[in-house]
């Protein structure tokens, strides 16, 4: 029973990690229907910035919540600038091109960023400090460390928080309304006075902030980063987003959790060799039955 519980929590953590990245992925897709392959790289840049910031602030003597919050803020700010620049350079000039062009541009941007960090930072693996390990207020977790460590709790709480804030922004604020309008019909939205470029820029900033939060928290959880982490994480997050229905935020979380549980239980009860096999068979099955994903809405094709 305890073993089952451990696998459950392990799956929850893994799912939470995938969800952190998948949320930003799916949000950008939902609004401008662009599969932003460079999202994983923004996450990687967030993690690198987080590492540099955490070394800087901890050398100033900061600890605990203040350190974690400040590191996340710096990483989010830096990643947001990258996201915005990326949008201006790689996607904005292609807004009127066919749908394939921005996709290729996104792949190019992803490869560029990965090698940029590799060449300008380091090709080595780096140790990421566990900023959550001695957070005051989370010490009650000590006796159940084998089940849930502080960082795992932080990841899950953050996923819930992001989901709530994202829903609030999209449903209750003017920016959210504009974003939804753009996602439904860009031309009509412009006719009502919405500045398309502004809305898309905000979408990218929001997506990059989410990626950077993921970068810092996942860095704390895995304790290791390198210039390559964005690729695998981006792939898994993309899978999770597709599983849940691309464009749906709750769907991304659901898809990520299903992926996490599938991998965790397969590794636990069968073998780590089959982890990916089972996860992707599941993906194929679900998409065969429900092609738009679990919570995805079928959009009528305009002719």
């Amino acid at each position: 029973m305890n073993f089952f519980l451990e696998l459950l929590v392990g799956g929850l953590t893994k799912g939470g990690i995938y969800a952190l990245i998948a949320l930003g992925y799916t949000m950008v897709y939902g609004i401008i229907a662009l599969i932003n392959f460079a999202h994983g790289e923004i996450y990687m840049i967030g993690a690198f910035t987080g590492l540099i910031a955490s070394l800087f602030f901890s050398s100033l003597g900061l600890t605990g919540w203040a350190l974690l919050a400040l590191v996340i803020m710096v990483a989010a700010l830096w990643a947001a600038m990258y996201g915005l620049t990326l949008e201006k350079i790689a996607y904005a000039p292609l807004r009127k091109a066919s749908r394939l062009s921005p996709l290729i541009s996104a792949i190019g941007a992803s490869i560029f960023l990965q090698n940029f960090v590799l060449l300008t930072q380091t090709p080595n693996y780096l140790l990421f400090p566990d900023l959550a390990s001695d957070l005051p207020g989370l010490s009650f977790l000590k006796p159940i460390a084998h089940l849930a460590s502080p960082i795992q709790v932080c990841v899950i709480v953050m996923v819930a928080l992001i989901l709530a804030v994202l829903t609030f922004i999209l449903k209750k604020t003017w920016t959210g309304l504009a974003m939804r309008a753009v996602s439904q019909d860009p031309l009509m939205a412009q006719l009502t006075g919405i500045n398309l470029n502004k809305v898309i820029a905000r979408t990218f900033i929001l997506g990059s902030v989410l990626a950077a939060i993921g970068g810092v928290l996942i860095g704390c959880a895995t304790r290791q980063i390198d210039s390559n982490i964005g690729f695998l994480a981006g792939l898994k997050a993309f899978t999770a987003a597709v599983l849940g229905g691309v464009g749906s935020a709750p769907g991304a979380v659901l898809g990520a959790l299903i992926l996490g549980f599938a991998e965790s239980f397969t590794a636990g009860y069968f073998s780590g060799d089959f982890e990916d096999v089972v996860a992707f068979v599941l993906l194929t099955l679900i998409l065969t039955i429900k092609p738009s994903g679990l919570l995805g809405q079928k959009i009528a094709q305009k002719v």
């Binding site: 140790l127 695998l232 239980f265």
Partner: protein, 432 residues
């Protein structure tokens, strides 16, 4: 519109011209490439990871090779020809390694030092076939020489099965009954894991409770760590490189799973201690013998540091230098014979021509001995030399057995104590 419309003809003519221009450019390019091969230089290939996450391994090999080449060139090169390194990166990726091998072959290289990782080496060897003689200084997979498919492959690094013999000796000494074995599904890691599993299962009373491959670079190893705990394994044996091992052991310690970790030479890298920090304490790993204490070796390190101020020499420096020096010795002997033979042939031809000469022809130019890069170096003769002769190198005496493995090299057992690799003295029953 008919075919004979003037527009069509013009465009057809233009495309033919364009094609001609392109092919002319191509020919010129080829010609310039051929010219670029400098006279009086012997080209020696290097294949390995110079970029990417495992570049620290490849660079160490490269540094050792550079030292050996510069040292040899100072002494006059190979029979008067200076040696030039032609390097190709493979990033330890098998697909890139095959491409690198093809590139090296097409640039006229016949002798290659490399590659860095076992998987990449296996793939490169298939691409070389019998067209190049290859000496690796870091590929440890048993199968590379055991398979017998690559008669012209040699290595100066000791093989994996020596490592697993040390590991099983440690397991026996500590009397661990339940063993968990994990690997990274790569050529190097999986081969090690399979080999330790066979040894462990052969022991009565010992049980392999977990044997699995894990996905390298994963975000969380929680499930497999829970499993190790659930099966009450007493020891975890890892087959793979240091990065995943560091992640694995950090996450295990965080979950209060404190089984000791035993790893191969992939862990014998200071970066492992940096990455795993406190979690690395107590970890055992097998590692290469320290070659840096001899006078020759110290000279080599000094020479290297005079060229690279901040660079560390890494794990494979001496294996790479030793490999190159053994090859140079073989090439000098085999090359001299080939040169003598070609010279004799040329002289005979010149004499024959002189006899048939009519009085009106100008006198023939004197016969010059060929250079080593011009003669055909017989791989069989080189192999025979490497198998029979002991060459004194910077890593000590080097000789290879018939399969191509170095004779007399071994591993040592280390334990990480207070953030340092400390050698564990092997008592008699641990001695191999």
């Amino acid at each position: 519109m008919t075919c004979s419309s003037p527009r069509r003809i013009v465009s057809a003519f233009a495309s033919v011209l364009a094609l001609l221009a392109f092919s002319a450019f191509f020919l010129i390019n080829q010609g310039s490439l051929a010219l670029a091969k400098e006279e009086g230089k012997f080209r020696l290939g290097f294949g390995g990871a110079l970029l990417g996450n495992l570049a620290s391994y490849g660079l160490s090999n490269r540094y050792g090779l550079e030292y050996a080449v510069i040292d040899q060139n100072k002494k006059g090169g190979l029979l008067g020809s200076q040696i030039e390194i032609v390097a190709q990166d493979d990033s330890c990726n098998p697909a890139q390694a095959a491409a690198a091998a093809t590139k090296l072959l097409s640039s006229g290289v016949k002798f290659v030092m490399g590659h860095t990782c076992s998987g990449a080496t296996r793939s490169a060897l298939s691409a070389y076939g019998n067209n190049a003689l290859v000496i690796s200084s870091s590929a440890t997979d048993n199968n590379l020489t055991d398979s017998g498919q690559h008669p012209y492959f040699f290595r100066t690094t000791p093989r994996d099965d020596i490592q697993t013999k040390i590991q099983i000796a440690l397991i026996r000494k500590k009397n661990y009954k339940k063993i968990a074995i994990l690997h990274d599904k790569g050529d190097y890691g999986q081969a090690l894991a399979e080999s330790i599993r066979q040894l462990a299962q052969a022991d009565p009373g010992r049980e392999v409770v977990v044997f699995e491959g894990i996905n390298s670079g994963q975000v969380s190893f929680d499930a497999i760590i829970s499993k190790i705990k659930e099966t009450q394994a007493e020891v975890l044996v890892w087959g793979g490189y240091y990065n995943d091992a560091a992640k694995l052991v950090t996450q295990a310690r965080r979950k209060n799973v404190n089984v000791p970790l035993i790893g191969p030479d992939g862990l014998y890298d200071p970066r492992f201690i940096v990455l795993a920090a406190d979690a690395a304490e107590g970890t055992y790993c097998t590692g290469q013998v320290d070659h840096s204490q001899s006078a020759l070796a110290m000279e080599a390190i000094k020479d290297h540091r005079s060229r690279y101020y901040t660079q560390d020499i890494g794990t494979y420096f001496f294996y790479a230098a030793g490999a190159a020096q053994s090859l140079f010795a073989a090439l000098e002997t085999v090359g001299q014979k080939a040169i003598d033979q070609t010279l004799a042939e040329r002289k005979a031809a010149a004499e024959k021509a002189a006899k048939e000469k009519t009085p009106n022809q100008p006198p023939a130019a004197p016969v010059e001995p060929p250079r080593i890069e011009e003669v055909n170096l017989d791989f069989k003769a080189v192999k025979q030399f490497l198998n029979e002769k002991v060459v004194e190198t910077v890593m000590g005496p080097v000789r290879y057995d018939a399969k191509g493995d170095i004779i007399g090299e071994g591993y040592k057992l280390f334990q990480i104590q207070n953030g340092k690799f400390v050698e564990v003295p092997m008592s008699n029953h641990l001695n191999l």
